[in-house]
Amino acid sequence: MLAQVRAAVVSTLFFTLLLGIGYPLLVTGIGQLAFPAQAGGSLVRNAAGQVIGSRLIAQNFSRPEYLHPRPSAAGSDGYDAAGSSGSNLGPLNPDLTKRVKASADQLRQGGATRIAADAVTTSGSGLDPDISPLNARQQAARIARTRGVAVAQVERLIAERTLPPVLGVMGQPSVNVLETNLALDAAFRPGQPAAR
């Protein structure tokens, strides 16, 4: 009996040290040396070197000259990168129907003719950094109008930044909102203030 207790205590403590401290620190060391950008959270910085977000994490965009991300249920008002969450509303929940309808109405007022499913639904994480190509194209006219450029130019930029599925079959085509918005700023008059 005492032998069992000794073995249990010693093995738990030994493996806690090896697997709970040694292993994560080793991966941290290798990761920080070999892949510092990824290990640090794929951060994006501005010209002044300040962190403006992560390319993997959605942040809110509401100005008309930018692509808008999907609605978010993370945190109390969305896009909380320290409180990831989906809405967890069931398919028949009246709150879901109400929310989706409201989002769709708003998009139609903004000029969308087709409503992509991802444009009116919250993601699993609330931090989905991507939107579907259809969702992005539906926003092209608004962006072009605000920035005073041709719609075709914005659509071309979106098409260039659409990531295809891996090997043609794994995953879905996607457009990264933050990166595409930075590309929009770089291509067409960066830093233009919001309309009106």
């Binding site: 032998a3 069992q4 073995a7 249990a8 010693v10 093995s11 738990t12 030994f14 090896l18 697997l19 709970g20 401290i21 991966v27 941290t28 290798i30 990761g31 070999a34 990824q38 290990a39 640090g40 959270g41 794929s42 300040q50 962190v51 403006i52 977000g53 993997l56 994490i57 965009f61 909380d80 990168a81 320290a82 409180g83 990831s84 989906g86 809405s87 509303l89 069931g90 398919p91 028949l92 929940n93 129907t97 989706v100 309808k101 769709a104 087709r114 499913a117 639904t121 919250t122 699993g124 994480s125 931090l127 950094p129 991507d130 579907s132 079959v169 794994m170 995953g171 996607s174 700023d185």
Partner: protein, 569 residues
């Protein structure tokens, strides 16, 4: 549904099966104490552990001794983990400044990670310190997986034995599985995850000022190292609340693919290793076929369900191609479907989309896969021994039909084994249906529900199925961080793990002591299509008969409500 989606599902399952064979061959060497190419590095470490534990590497335990070691180890890990979580505010590496967990939450979480369930009642990035994630949760991802795999090794030895007492030594199995299997593969996978974009940082938070001038706090952790063993050990407990839907845990289609493959491959490999040791490779292949058929069938069903028109999208006149609520754009329906089948079949419990927002039948299939007993292919180790228990029942049923004493893999299956097997499998309905019916009438429990109507019952049923099956996924709208849920789910997890393992070990002890018989003309073949069909039937009848009435009141009635809503438009 489209061709690319089907191709993704088939490729993912196919690659998993393809890798299971070499991994199973390697695993068999580790179980049998044979040399591996890692010996020069790891043999000294192995000896060090045995020395510290006072264990002789060549000693062998009977089933009750093995069970006592298993329980002693689980108890010690529970205590250590409970203390780490409860007092994380006094421990180092708490840059977030989090307080210690409440007693009921620390109990629930410690039970959850020690039983390989990894149910989480909390939002990790707002509750758990970096130290707790590493030393507490990451290490127990390894240890609970290794303990499960050890029981599978025992099952293999029991069938291979001829009138033997000894079933191996728990401490040796635990050590060798951790050192030779879980650690090296996790290390390689973790580094691949960092390369593919997962963070691996000891910093707690990075503050960002967004393009539009808002403030955003990005939570970071040593994510990749935990993600690797979370999936490879079928643990499934998220580093973040959104689990593998979170872009830091699962940034792209490549990581998603590796995470799905790694959460099933070791479960299948346990069956392959079992087949090699018992000298029953064809019989093991039949078990793998049954497992893979269920995973494919569930993937297909969820893919079909999630590409149905969702009522909210129909009402808003939006595109209805995919029910995108709770799903990530980079994954869409097929990646989500194959992941969900793999995670609920495997007792992993990690999710890459929110099951609570699935269409009723999509969520219903996930729930049903858990209720089938977590054997398809099941958790690492636990899938193998769970499947063997079902196989014993299947040959018993076949034996009843033809009036012969049933045999499985050269061992006579008699009343004693069947009694233990039934004792084990009856734990599932007892804990799942018992707790669900209690919770369905208790106001303290019902306060936690997020959705009204039939969906609310599904949330309760899913929670207890997930806990008892040691799965850990959730209809996550349920607010489970209350004393009622933390305590009862903790008890369900304990029952699902230990009340199952003890009879399984008793079966192993009983089988090992029997003579190994050769096959005769009267032996029921357990390697062909007939047995595959019989096994599928037994799995479905046991799951179906036990849980169908409850499912009818949850996902099935909700499905008809969806049809009614759509028809009314």
């Amino acid at each position: 549904m489209n061709g690319a989606g089907w191709a993704e599902i088939v490729i993912t399952i196919g690659v998993t099966l393809g890798l299971a064979w070499p991994l199973g061959a390697y695993l068999a060497r580790v179980w049998q104490g044979q040399r591996t190419w890692l010996d020069p590095v790891l043999k000294p470490v192995e000896r060090l552990v045995y020395g510290g534990c006072g264990v002789k590497a060549d000693s062998s335990q009977g089933w009750s001794g093995y069970a006592a070691s298993f329980l002693a180890f689980s108890a010690a890990s529970f205590v250590v983990l409970y203390l780490i979580l409860r007092f994380q505010d006094l421990l180092p590496l708490n840059p977030q400044g989090f307080a210690g967990l409440s007693p009921d939450l620390a109990f629930n979480t410690a039970v959850s990670f020690v039983t390989n369930t990894n149910w989480q009642s909390y939002v990790p990035e707002q509750v758990v310190s970096t130290f707790s994630q590493m030393a507490g949760l990451t290490s127990h991802n390894f240890l609970s997986a290794a303990a499960g795999i050890a029981i599978a090794a025992v099952m293999a030895r029991a069938f291979a034995a001829n009138r033997a007492e000894g079933l191996g030594n728990f401490w040796v199995d635990l050590t060798r599985i951790c050192l030779y299997v879980l650690l090296p593969f996790s290390l390689v996978i973790a580094i691949a995850y960092v390369a593919l974009g997962e963070p691996q940082s000891l910093l707690a938070h990075v503050k960002a000022t967004t393009v539009e001038g808002a403030h955003q706090t990005l939570a970071l952790y040593p994510t990749a190292s935990q993600e690797a063993i979370k999936q490879f050990g079928t643990n499934g407990g998220g580093i973040f609340n959104a689990n593998s839907a979170h872009p830091f845990e699962n940034p792209n289609a490549w990581t998603n693919f590796i995470e799905i493959v790694s959460m099933n491959v070791l479960g299948y490999a346990c069956v392959v290793a079992f087949g090699r040791i018992v000298l029953a490779r064809r019989e093991a292949r039949a078990l793998v076929v049954v497992m893979a058929l269920f995973v494919f069938g569930a993937s297909a069903a969820i893919y079909a369900a999630e590409t149905q028109a969702a009522p909210a999208l129909v009402a808003a006149h939006a595109d209805t191609g995919v029910n995108m609520e709770g799903k990530e754009v980079r994954f869409g329906a097929p990646s989500t479907a194959v992941w969900t089948a793999a995670t609920t079949g495997a007792s992993d419990g990690g999710v890459n989309a929110m099951h609570d927002s699935f269409m009723p039948l999509g969520g219903g299939v996930a729930l049903f896969m858990i209720q089938l007993g977590e054997i398809l292919p099941g958790g690492v180790g636990s899938g193998l021994y769970g499947m063997v228990v079902i196989a014993l029942i299947a040959v018993f049923v076949a034996g009843l039909m033809v009036g012969r004493t049933p045999e499985y893999l050269g061992k006579k299956v008699e009343a004693r084994e069947i009694k233990y097997a039934m004792l084990a499998v009856l734990i599932l309905p007892l804990a799942i249906l018992g707790f669900t019916s209690a919770a369905a009438v208790l106001p303290a429990a019902l306060k936690g529900l997020a959705n009204p109507g039939a969906h609310g019952l599904s949330e309760i049923l899913y929670a207890y199925s997930s806990a008892t099956g040691n799965n850990g996924s959730a209809f996550a709208g349920l607010s489970a961080n209350t004393p009622w849920w933390n305590t009862t789910l903790g008890i369900a997890m304990l029952l699902g793990r230990f009340a199952y393992v003890i009879p399984v070990l008793a079966i192993a002890g009983s089988l090992a002591a029997k003579p190994k018989l050769g096959a005769t003309a009267g032996t029921f073949p357990t390697d062909g299509g007939l047995f595959v069909g019989l096994l599928i039937g037994v799995i479905l009848v046991m799951g179906g008969l036990q849980f169908f009435p409850a499912l009818a009141l949850g996902p099935i009635v909700e499905h008809f409500q969806v049809l009614q809503t759509l028809a009314a438009r």
